[in-house]
Symmetry: C2
Subunit: 76 residues, 2 copies
């Protein structure tokens, strides 16, 4: 995809993951998503689904609300 | 799908649409999504993507942040 939206979303996920000091592999494990999929999301290469957004939020131990608050600040 | 998440998301979209007093057809037109797709989303039958969430938010003239604030209140 690599739309502005998916790129901005990916930035937020990477920022949150680094804030937790965990690898893509560890986030994949915690989210029940493949580590290569985490990489694609962070690079904005995927049009992620709502279900996967929820999995990521659980893996990151944050609310979906927080993710979209952060997205709102950088995405227009 | 009809997961708890997609059902809860659909409820929020329906509530927002009714608050604007517009039909599924009108929301489809404003969102550049098919009216039958709007119906499926509202009934929780689709695992919506991030790009379509953004289209819906634009069609509803609300932020994605607002949608997830509302979702956060009813979904756990």
């Amino acid at each position: 995809m690599n739309t502005k939206l998916s790129l901005d979303f990916g930035k937020i996920i990477r920022e949150l993951r680094k804030g937790k000091d965990i690898s893509q592999e560890e986030l994949g494990f915690r989210s029940n998503l493949h580590r290569t999929y985490i990489g694609m999301i962070e690079r904005g290469e995927k049009n992620i689904t709502l279900e996967s957004i929820e999995k990521l939020s659980k893996g990151l131990d944050v609310s979906m609300k927080l993710i979209f608050e952060k997205l709102n600040k950088i995405h227009q």
